[in-house]
């Protein structure tokens, strides 16, 4: 029964992991930028909602606010800075987002201090029982919102004009331009959506775990791993990838101890890259 409980926890946390990876995968797939500051964006979203929470706002109300603020933030960064170097070698955008990560992390440390912060509304610690299994409400809400946002992103990409423009830009920049798409604008919007998803992930992360300025250090590689497992083209598959990692971590924590969870995430990454080299080289 313990195993079932662990699996439930893993699946629920995995949904949130999937949401974390969603923004990174979108930006990577469309702009060919691996955003090393993605974890720092998640951190910013978490802090924003934490401060709104201490001002008396429920995190689920702040979630759209965090998404809107992060969207604007991402839009401005892409429009004013990243668009300047987006056509250079992957090395340069990698280094640029790395620098952005350093700046955001140390700014957060200066402004918010290194203290652990938690967003704990009444439902964060609550749980209910289904048979012998206890379902934590905080994680269940995080899971539900993650799946809902993945569905929304899927619909946005597949069913709307904007989504078509984004997919066209990802496939062939010049052809999209010929059909009247403004790539600079589409890039900025896409990066903004990626940041908004990070903001949502940060909100939910703050409910189920603790926020420090340094959470990005592990969340960026984790999002990367999940993006690779899920592939870059389908939001729902990425959430499934998140669940795979969530399950792997839960089982690791049960049998090997919680300190090894990150080692297992990376072990899976290397294993997947070695076993499926052709596919991974193609996306790179």
């Amino acid at each position: 029964m313990l195993l079932v409980q662990i699996l439930v926890n893993g699946v629920l946390l995995g949904g949130l992991y999937g949401l974390m990876a969603l923004g990174m995968a979108l930006v990577w797939g469309v702009l060919n930028i691996v955003n090393l500051a993605h974890g720092a964006f998640i951190m910013l979203g978490g802090y924003l909602v934490f401060f709104l929470f201490t001002a008396g706002l429920d995190p689920l109300v702040s979630l759209p606010i965090a998404m809107a603020v992060l969207f604007l933030f991402g839009y401005v960064i892409q429009r004013s800075l990243l668009n300047l170097i987006v056509r250079s070698a992957l090395l340069n955008t990698l280094l640029f987002t790395f620098g952005l990560d350093v700046v955001l992390t140390y700014l957060a440390q200066l402004l918010f201090s290194a203290d652990f912060r938690t967003i704990n509304p009444s439902y964060a610690g609550a749980n209910f029982s289904v048979g012998a299994v206890t379902v934590p409400v905080g994680r269940l809400i995080a899971f539900a919102i993650a799946v809902a946002l993945a569905l929304l992103l899927y619909l946005l990409l597949e069913r709307t004009r904007l989504g078509r423009a984004i997919r066209a830009t990802a496939q062939n920049l010049d052809a999209a331009r010929l059909y009247g798409v403004n790539p600079a604008q589409i890039y900025a919007i896409t990066f903004g959506i990626g940041a908004a998803l990070a903001g949502a992930a940060g909100t939910l992360y703050g409910i189920v775990a603790q926020i420090t300025p340094y959470i990005g250090v592990t969340l960026t590689p984790k999002s990367f791993v999940i993006a690779i497992i899920g592939g870059l083209d389908n939001p729902l598959r990425i959430v499934a990838g998140g669940i795979v990692i969530g399950l792997a971590e839960a089982v690791t924590a049960l049998y090997l101890g919680p300190t090894y969870t990150d080692v297992v995430s990376f072990g899976l990454l290397v294993l997947i890259l070695v076993l499926r080299p052709a596919r991974s080289l193609k996306i790179a």
Binding site: V34, I85, N92, L94, F96, D101, Y187, V263, L269, L273
Partner: protein, 314 residues
């Protein structure tokens, strides 16, 4: 050309003379600056020439520190034997590690190195021979002049190696890999072998720098040796100075170390932030680094920065 050689010789003589005219603070700053310059120059071999961004070179630094510390503190061997031991471990580790991970490209390689550097400090904290979390204490030698000159010689050796690479077939192969790995492979460049050799060279110099540093500060622990902020600094210094050039990483490391020292004195908290801002500015305005600025600025004046931006913007 003669003028340039003369200026270079004068600069080296000036650097070598620091222990005779500088005070203790300047010498200690110099040791740190020279050692980080060695790290930047080593990173340059794979990162600058072959275009493979590693965020995990601090692993070799940590192995070098621990290699020397274990040899001297646990086995009572002399320093130079410790250095050989440390360099051997680091090079062997680089070759073993490089074989699987240097088949990965671009972001895959970068992220895997990021993970390895995080995993290594956890490993060192759990090993008995490495003193676990407590660390190791080395025999004390108070001779800053010796450590300074040793660091300078190491930096000179690393720079001469890079100068050789820049002119050799080996370097050409690395550059070909950076520009187009598939094309390089199609004309017979065994890319994986060249990349592993480049990583092993980087590991060699980085480990010796770690070893010198360990003996100098006489105490090491996992957090200080497998220090991931070193990765940040060596990458940024190389990019700022000029990746894939001979003197760029050295210039970048010495200039940024000096600025950092001044900042850390006056506004200590913002000093770390400064490095992040440097890389943002450098990637946009100086994609070929500080050493390219001189010639480019003379030719184009302020339009130099505009040309850099025009090249890659959408």
């Amino acid at each position: 050309m003669n003028g340039r050689w003369f200026a270079l010789a004068a600069a080296v003589a000036l650097l070598a003379g620091v222990p005779w005219f500088g005070n203790a603070v300047l010498i200690q700053f110099g040791i740190n600056a020279l050692l980080i310059a060695v790290l930047a120059q080593s990173w340059n071999i794979l990162g600058g020439f072959a275009g493979y961004v590693s965020f995990g070179n601090s692993v070799f630094y940590g192995l070098g520190s621990y290699g020397v510390a274990i040899a001297m503190a646990q086995w009572n061997l002399p320093f130079w034997v410790g250095l050989i031991f440390a360099a051997t471990i680091a090079v062997a580790f680089a070759a073993l590690l490089g074989w699987p991970i240097l088949r990965l490209r671009g972001p895959y390689f970068a992220i895997v190195t990021l993970g390895i550097s995080a995993a290594m400090s956890a490993l060192a904290a759990n090993l008995d021979i490495a003193g676990k979390n407590v660390g190791l204490i080395l025999p004390l030698t108070r001779n800053d002049t010796l450590f300074y000159e040793a660091s300078l010689v190491l930096l000179a050796a690393a720079t001469l190696t890079v100068a050789w690479i820049a002119r050799s077939r080996f370097g050409m192969a690395l550059i070909a890999i950076r520009e187009d790995e598939d094309a390089a492979a199609s004309v017979g460049v065994n890319a994986t072998r060249f990349k592993i050799a480049a990583l092993a060279m980087a590991a060699f110099f980085t480990a010796i720098a770690g070893g010198i540093h360990a003996y100098w500060i006489t105490y090491i622990d996992p957090a200080g040796s497998f220090d991931t902020t070193l990765d940040v600094r060596m990458v940024i210094m190389t990019m700022f100075g000029g990746p894939g050039t001979i003197l760029g990483p050295v210039v970048g490391a010495l200039v940024l170390s000096a600025i950092y020292e001044v900042l850390a004195d006056s506004i200590s908290k913002a000093a770390a932030l400064f490095f992040g801002i440097v890389i943002l500015v450098a990637v946009i305005f100086l994609p070929r680094g500080l050493v390219d600025l001189g010639g480019g600025f003379r030719a184009l004046r302020w339009r130099y920065f505009l040309t850099n931006i025009r090249q890659y913007r959408i």
